[in-house]
């Protein structure tokens, strides 16, 4: 099995901040907006270096989305930033009319996605955002797995013309992907080749999938692990090629099982190659306060949950 090394735990939101710093230096059309959460989004360096290209909108997310749409009309590439909950559900109609339906080149960049923002609890967590954004025609949905990949994704979406939802998180997680990686929107990354089961994971759950695969390998189960950083458009070929070898699949994501990666994968399988699938995801529930580790344990979002799902799906082959 391919060995991945944690280069040191880092938060994906800091990967976003690092990507913004670089974009600030390399792309004069990139502008940023924030709704009173600059520190949480880690964009201080971008603001310090490009004060004229930053707009503080205050606690007014609807206005932020509209202003972002308007900035594109002058050729700017706006990155609208806040917590995932307020970046999607709170302003769904603004995104729908002024951004998606209007084909605007806005990058909606959302931190603190999922339950792992932790102690603030369910009002600040969101487990439905992937579903909300992927249902919008023309919206690209990206959920990178670690610091390095989030930085690469941030830089890549500036070059992509069209609305993008970029989702990342608060907790420090293993940083294991290459620092100089290429990020191709819509192209899954095969992390480990295997023959018994396919595990496709997104976001923080990719590292957990690798941990699970290592444990399973020790039990004689060969896992193919794929990092789906782009949920829409979905790399269907990568998934179908893999299940052609393994015959069963586990999807893993920090999101409700309704509307997330698992559901997109299930549709692909139903259309092309009906295959046993198990979902590692939250089970149509809100979150609660707790540490990230406690929440991942309680809501079944860690390597142990993935292992259990693999054992279950293998019996259905």
């Amino acid at each position: 099995m391919t060995k991945y090394t944690d280069q040191g735990k880092k938060d994906t939101r800091s990967g976003f901040g690092a990507g913004m710093t670089e974009l600030g230096r390399t792309n004069p059309n990139v502008v940023a907006l924030c709704a009173d959460l600059v520190g949480s989004l880690k964009i201080e360096t971008f603001i310090d270096e490009n004060p004229e290209r930053f707009f503080q909108v205050g606690i007014a997310e609807a206005n932020m989305m509209g202003i972002a749409a308007g900035l594109t009309i002058g050729g700017k590439i706006p990155f609208a930033t806040t917590f995932a909950n307020f970046a999607t559900g709170r302003v769904y109609d603004q995104i729908r009319q002024s951004i998606a339906y209007s084909h605007k080149n806005v990058k909606i960049c959302a931190s603190h996605a999922g339950v792992t923002l932790g102690e603030d609890g369910a009002t600040h967590q969101i487990l439905e955002d992937i579903g909300l954004m992927k249902m919008l025609p023309g919206m690209t949905v990206i959920n990178p797995c670690d610091f390095n990949q989030t930085k690469a994704a941030t830089i890549a979406i500036a070059e992509h013309h069209g609305p993008v939802y970029l989702r990342f998180g608060r907790p420090k997680v293993a940083n294991f992907t290459p620092v100089d990686q290429e990020f191709e929107i819509g192209k899954a990354v095969l992390l480990n080749e295997g023959t018994d089961v396919t595990i496709v994971a997104t976001g923080h759950l990719v590292w957990e999938a690798l941990l699970a695969a290592e444990n399973l390998e020790n039990q004689g189960i060969s896992c193919e692990v794929i990092n789906i950083h782009t949920i829409k458009p979905l790399d269907e070929k990568a998934i179908l090629d893999s299940i052609g070898k393994t015959g069963c699949i586990v999807t893993a994501e920090e999101h409700n099982f309704l509307g997330g990666l698992g559901e997109s994968v299930a549709r692909t399988l139903a259309l092309h190659q009906p295959t046993p699938q198990e979902f590692v995801a939250t089970q149509d529930t809100f979150g609660e306060s707790g540490t990230p580790d406690q929440l991942m344990e309680k809501y079944g979002l860690n390597n142990k949950a993935i292992e259990a799902a693999v054992l279950k799906v293998l019996k259905r082959k």
């Binding site: 909108v57 007014a60 609807a62 009309i73 700017k76 339906y101 605007k104």
Partner: protein
Amino acid sequence: MATISELEELVVQVRRDILRMVHKVNSGHPGGSLGCTEFFVTLYNEVMDLKEGFDMDGHGEDVFFLSNGHISPVFYSVLARRGYFPLEELNTFRLINSRLQGHPTTHEGLPGIRVASGSLGQGMSVALGAALAKKLNKDNHLVYSLHGDGELQEGQNWEAIMFAAAHKVDNLIATVDRNGQQIDGPTEKVMPLGDVPEKFRAFGWDVLEIENGNDLGQVIEGLKEAKQRTGKGKPVCIVMTTMMGNGVDFMMHTHAWHGKAPNDEQLETALAQNPETLGDY
């Protein structure tokens, strides 16, 4: 520059366009459209600095955003008569496969439209973004927007109004169509807006009023005055009082024609009150 009588002819012809468009498909919003005809005709033919052709970014020209998208008939008619797209296309209003959707959209690539509107309350934010982009691009042109008064009940406007003053967006002229009516009745009955000019002033805007937004002379003067007030550190607001259904006697003094089309007989009466000037499409 057109003469007043040329603009007046255009106003009457646009009224005919509006009436015929909504009548043909038996749907659409004639009341607010007729109320804003003088404003649109003046804006697009006398006030805005426009370049030839259309591109989405609008570099080097003034741009306009219609926030209350349901008055699309007046917008489409004025755009077509300004040469943005063929006049005959007004025949396709609200029909299947048309670029003239019930509410304006960029989705079908209609020249002149820069953002979709219809879900109310979002236009001022978009106009602000475009105005900020002009400042970043060192483009000294202006951004205009139009908002229904009932639309001010949407909270997003007040987020935008607050932002505009705080960020000194002084290349924006936002106009409120104060016709006092909305679908369910008078605005002051449905949800009172109170003293709209004072509210904008309290939020730090420079406000001027057009007492009769259906008096072409007053509209021209008001828009030109607003233009003079830009570039002075404050966003500019025009509160313009209009009559819904203006120019058709039975459509005035009521909110009944907010979203209702005239039947054959009513159309004939309405058109008789607005005899053809520049030729029907």
